[in-house]
């Protein structure tokens, strides 16, 4: 028989290394030849989209089209440390470093332009890579023309920034601290499952996600992270298990270690909550790891809702479900009170 159930789980996730570890990111922005603006960052984009995110941030601050932003990715000869692409930290850390570097560059653009135009900052306007006096917008200088003039004076139009927030080590006795992580991401998921009580197979039908990610700089990327993380959570809940015996992994391949396929993917309904409650760039927080955490407990709860049996051992395989159902049946027969 097929039984349906619903489960919910809510998580909060402090991202970045936190707990007083020195965690920072350095980036620079400079006016480059051929109509480009160069951003130097070592942030590694492994598909999560950090380079898209920081391109958007730089373009937003410098008021240019994203196509103008060029990124030099990781190269230890040319670029300073941006820290790892881990701990859900790059949007927050490198996003802030790039934002500050871009703001620094913008300040320099204003500074040198004010000398050129013999004007005050507040009397200057900026649009599409041009700077001009508000009282005479036709007499404008492009960022690149300005950079040439700055170069002639022996200087260059660029800025570097480091984002290095403070976090505190928790008190060893109480575990408490004023600021253990830079910020927290909150995610609630409701999962609908269908459990086949004859085979023990669980199908995840639909996942509703509400994620407070501060600000979605690229909503499509954020949703992509949530969907990908959720399906990893489905794997953790239902199928993924590294079997180790005497130090040897018995299933070191994708035939023995199963991960979700397109057949396991549910329907999604995702809502992004843009609360802007942190010091992230434009209020953005990290979404990578938080996307995967709520799914597994929500599925376990949904299975309990569907069949009334609680399974505490992951992954919740068909064998475990059938065994638990059988145990309950036997206990019911001998009149033992159910104890879940």
């Amino acid at each position: 028989m097929k039984k349906n159930g619903r489960g919910i789980a809510t998580i909060m996730f402090g991202f970045g290394y936190g707990a007083g570890f020195p965690d920072h990111s350095i980036a620079s922005a400079e006016i480059e030849d051929e109509g480009k603006i160069l951003i130097r960052t070592a942030a590694a984009d492994v598909g999560q989209g950090v380079l898209t995110t920081i391109t958007q941030i730089a373009a937003e601050v410098l008021k240019v089209k994203p196509e103008i932003i060029q990124i030099i990715p990781g190269d230890t000869h040319l670029i300073k440390n941006s820290g790892s692409s881990s701990a859900t930290r790059q949007t927050f850390f490198t996003g802030n470093a790039v934002k500050e570097a871009s703001e620094g560059l913008l300040s320099n653009i204003y500074h040198y332009a004010s000398i050129e135009f013999r004007s005050n900052h507040v009397e200057l306007g900026i649009k599409d890579g041009y700077i001009f006096r508000n009282d005479n917008p036709n007499n404008k200088l492009s960022y690149w023309e300005l950079a040439e003039k700055v170069k002639e004076s022996g200087d260059s139009l660029k800025a570097e920034a480091s984002f290095f927030p403070r976090t505190d080590k928790p008190d060893p006795n109480t575990g408490q601290g004023e600021k253990i992580y830079v910020a927290y991401t909150f995610v609630t998921q409701v999962v609908e499952v269908e459990v086949d009580t004859d085979t023990g197979i669980v199908q995840v039908l639909k996942v509703y996600t509400s994620a407070d990610i501060g600000k979605a700089i690229n909503p499509q990327n954020v949703e992509g992270q949530i969907e990908g993380g959720t399906v990893q959570g489905i794997g953790m809940a239902l199928m993924e298990e590294q079997v180790i015996k005497e130090g040897i992994t018995l299933n070191p391949d994708l035939t023995g270690y199963l991960i979700p396929t397109s057949m396991d993917t549910p329907r999604f309904a995702t809502r992004l909550v843009e609360n802007e409650d942190s010091e992230g760039p434009f209020g953005a927080k990290g979404v990578g790891e938080p996307a995967t955490i709520a799914t597994t407990p929500a599925i376990a709860n949904a299975i309990y809702d569907a069949i009334g049996v609680r399974i505490f051992d992951l992954p919740i395989t068909p064998e475990k479900i059938l065994k638990a159902l059988k145990k309950r049946e036997t206990e019911n027969k001998i009149g033992k009170k159910e104890d879940f």
Partner: protein, 157 residues
């Protein structure tokens, strides 16, 4: 001893000599420089190396190069004419159906094979056709959406 084989690759006839134990995957990548074909597991489990041989999707890591003698191969490099992308490729871009991108060439080729045999697949058909192509990043939703959108736009012809 090397074997001389002759086949059509992305519309071009090629004749080369290959070792009898060389896989199609290695020949494509090492001899023909078609590095859009990815090696994932190398054991037929992940689908990253999917190419079309006589219009059917195969794991090129499991096929010997000598087996393609007289056959027609299509890889990801053969989908675009150099100017215009294939509707499937366009659709993958539009739907952000790519994260790290490693599974993408195989995904697109499996989708292409599906559209070759069924020009109006339903969602379930798409999911089934892609079930042999593993993706760890996207959760598959955007990939399935991309294929269905390409169908809607006439990508299945």
């Amino acid at each position: 001893m090397k074997h001389k084989i002759r086949f059509t690759i992305n519309g071009e006839v090629k004749e080369i000599e290959v070792q009898p134990n060389k896989t199609l995957l290695k020949m494509l990548r090492e001899d023909l420089d078609l590095i859009g074909v990815k090696e994932g597991c190398g054991a037929g489990e992940c689908g990253a190396c999917t190419v079309l041989v006589n219009n059917k999707p195969v794991n090129s890591c499991l096929m010997l190069a000598v087996e393609v003698d007289g056959k027609e191969i299509l890889t990801i490099e053969g989908l675009s004419d150099g100017i215009n992308l294939d509707p499937l490729q366009e659709s993958f871009l539009k739907h952000n159906a790519i994260q790290c991108g490693y599974c993408t060439p195989g995904m697109v080729m499996s989708a292409k094979a599906l559209l070759n045999r069924n020009s109006h697949p339903k969602e379930e058909d798409v999911k089934e056709a892609l079930a042999g192509n593993l993706c760890r990043c996207t959760g598959y939703k955007r990939i399935v959406d991309a294929v269905l959108d390409a169908v809607k736009k006439g990508g299945g012809k």
